[in-house]
């Protein structure tokens, strides 16, 4: 029997930090010192983590399935890239502008498409991204079209930290931005607003019946997620000093979806497991042969959906639960 004073303890304490949450951050810092030759890949992984985190907000919490999240990643990448290529090389303002532009695009497109559900919504997210890719391809003058956008030159961060050839600055820059974005995302999902997103995912009819402005909430989180994806795209543009059409591709939308499924969605840290797993596997397998990689990732996807629908984090949780039960 639970004492009355302890009732609701679960809800009251859920947002508190647990020691386990420090693990990915310690790992990220440790990786910086342990694998100095992999910092360029490392930065890309961190960018993918941020991108996947943004998707987790809409997929894992609000239950919006998107096949076109690359739209916002691409908008962010092109915004930051074009800004710099036109001569404004200050990185932080580039990030902020990318977030704003992607966020506005998310808000407007979300307003239009989030009244639909199911296959229709899936198709609209997909077509929106494909449409942007066509536009980017057409507007060669600004985007470089098929050849990609070149001529991006970044100023030092805060006027002090130069981007170096080995990607040290880039790695730490991405890590810092990721951390800030994560703090924001974590606050949101534990807030009453975040809780109501879960409510929409769990039972949208009931959500209407308790008087929630469902559409507005969905559009809001969609815009926030878009802004975050935009920041991820901007980081890619700034750290690689290049933007190609692939930032808007269906493949990229698929990649990020797979990453979050692999890691486990609806729990924020899924992105931290999925992204390195996916990208290191890709790096290693694709070196052998692209066919191995495609077959491998296809098989992993089928197996995960069939046997571990909550991803690696889900497996870890189940393992942890069993361990606790045994030790009792």
């Amino acid at each position: 029997m639970i004492g009355i004073a302890e009732r609701g303890a679960f809800l009251r304490h859920r947002h508190r930090l647990s020691w386990a949450e420090s693990v990915p951050w310690i790992a990220a810092v440790a990786a910086f010192f342990l694998f100095p030759s992999y910092e360029t890949l490392g930065a890309q992984v961190l960018i993918m983590v941020l991108f996947a985190l943004s998707l987790d907000l809409i997929l894992g919490y609000a239950g919006i399935i998107s096949l076109g999240h690359a739209a916002f990643f691409g908008i962010g990448a092109y915004t930051a890239g074009i800004l710099s290529a036109q001569g404004w090389g200050e990185p932080i303002s580039g990030l902020v502008l990318a977030a704003i532009v992607a966020g506005i695009a998310g808000f407007i497109s979300g307003w239009a498409i989030l009244r639909t559900t199911g296959l229709t919504l899936l198709m609209l997210t997909l077509c929106f991204a494909e449409l942007l890719r066509e536009i980017a391809n057409e507007q060669e003058h600004y985007t470089g079209g098929d050849d990609g956008l070149r001529g991006i030159r970044m100023d030092p961060i805060f006027g002090v930290f130069e981007f170096d050839l080995f990607g040290e600055t880039a790695y730490l820059y991405c890590l810092a931005v990721l951390f800030i974005m994560f703090v924001v995302a974590r606050a949101i999902v534990h807030s009453p607003f975040g809780q109501s997103l879960t409510g929409i995912r769990e039972n949208i009819r009931r959500m209407h019946a308790v008087g929630a402005p469902v559409h507005l909430k969905l559009v809001t989180i969609y815009a926030i997620s878009a802004a975050m994806a935009g920041v991820a795209g901007a980081l890619l543009a700034q750290t690689t000093e290049y933007v190609g059409l692939t930032v808007l591709s269906f493949i990229r939308s698929g990649d990020v979806l797979i990453v979050i499924i692999l890691g486990g969605f609806g729990r924020l840290y899924g992105a931290f497991i999925g992204a390195p797993l996916y990208m290191v596997l890709q790096d290693q397998l694709a070196k052998q042969s692209p066919e191995y990689w495609l077959f491998g990732i296809g098989l992993v996807l089928v197996v995960v959906v069939m046997f571990a629908p909550r991803g690696v984090l889900g497996l870890l949780e189940d393992l942890g639960a069993r361990f606790r039960r045994d030790s009792r």
């Binding site: 391809n137 098989l299 089928v302």
Partner: protein, 286 residues
């Protein structure tokens, strides 16, 4: 005028291929609510099967097309029985991911078997000519493609409207529970529909090599187009799939003709506009 005719003709040939491939996807979605993003892989398989049969086994063109239908239908049943049916009760996300996984695997397998390069279509000699329709000549192969597809569409319509199985399929698409309660074996019906739909995709893939090309990335490359036909037409609607295929085929052909750099732009604009206006698609039920 000539341009409009060419666009109309090529657009129609393209539309027929899109229809043959997408119609099965639409009906399985309407019937089982199953989002099969790997449907294009069956079309690809049909293409590879037909080409291989002609090239390696010397089977004549028409025979190869028929065998592509039978072969793909049989293979699809194996998949349906062993894998797909585990996902009918699951959510949309699981279905999407599972079938995307299959698409990736199909790319790898086809690359290993048939190599990464585009396959040269085989056109039989009797179709290598031009057909004179009085006012203008048209390539015989595409004329043949359009006529055969129209014949298949008529047969399909007849089968659905006039046969018992057809009536059962329509009833089940309309209201699955009701169909079940009046004794229709929806499970078996679905296997039949799935096989038929995949077989049609196989024919579309085999006939369409000359139109869509054929590489191991086929299922991924054309996925968006197939899905657009299904969504714009409306789930489970054969008439919808047909109208959407013609619409998409002609618009896409015209777009690429007039704006080679941004041809697909109009395709996506039209799709977005249609889906915002009618989320259930042109012929779908709200």
């Amino acid at each position: 005028m000539t341009a409009a005719l060419s666009i109309g003709f090529d657009g129609l040939a393209y539309a027929m291929v899109l229809f043959l491939i997408s119609v099965g996807m639409s009906v399985t979605m309407g019937l089982m609510g199953f989002a099969n993003l790997a449907h294009g892989a069956f079309a690809m398989l049909g293409g590879y099967l037909a080409i291989t049969l002609m090239r390696e086994a010397g089977i004549p063109f028409v025979g190869a097309i028929v065998l592509a239908f039978v072969g793909v239908a049989l293979i699809s049943v194996v998949f349906e029985r062993t894998l797909y049916r585990r996902f009918y009760a699951k959510g949309e996300l699981d279905q999407v991911l599972f079938t995307i996984g299959l698409v990736f695997m199909s790319i790898a397998v086809c690359t290993l078997i048939w190599g990464p390069v585009n396959v040269v279509p085989i056109v039989p000699d009797f179709l290598k000519t031009q057909v004179d329709l009085g006012f203008r000549e048209f390539p015989a192969y595409r004329t043949f493609l359009i006529l055969v597809s129209l014949a298949i569409i008529v047969a399909l319509w007849y089968g659905l409207e006039r046969t018992k199985v057809g009536a059962q399929i329509r009833a089940a698409v309309n209201n699955r529970r009701m169909a079940q309660s009046i004794g229709i074996d929806v499970d078996r019906l679905f296997t039949i529909t799935f096989a038929l739909g995949s077989g049609l995709a196989g024919i579309g893939g085999a006939l369409g090599v000359e139109v869509l090309g054929l590489t191991p990335f086929y299922a991924l490359e054309w996925l968006v187009h197939f899905m657009i036909v299904v969504a714009v037409g409306g789930l489970g609607s054969i008439r919808g799939a047909f109208v959407a295929a013609v619409l998409i085929g002609v618009i896409d052909t015209a777009g690429k003709y007039f704006f080679p750099h941004a041809g697909a732009f109009f395709l996506f604009v039209i799709t977005i506009v249609v889906l915002l206006w009618r989320p259930q698609g042109l012929f779908g039920r709200a």
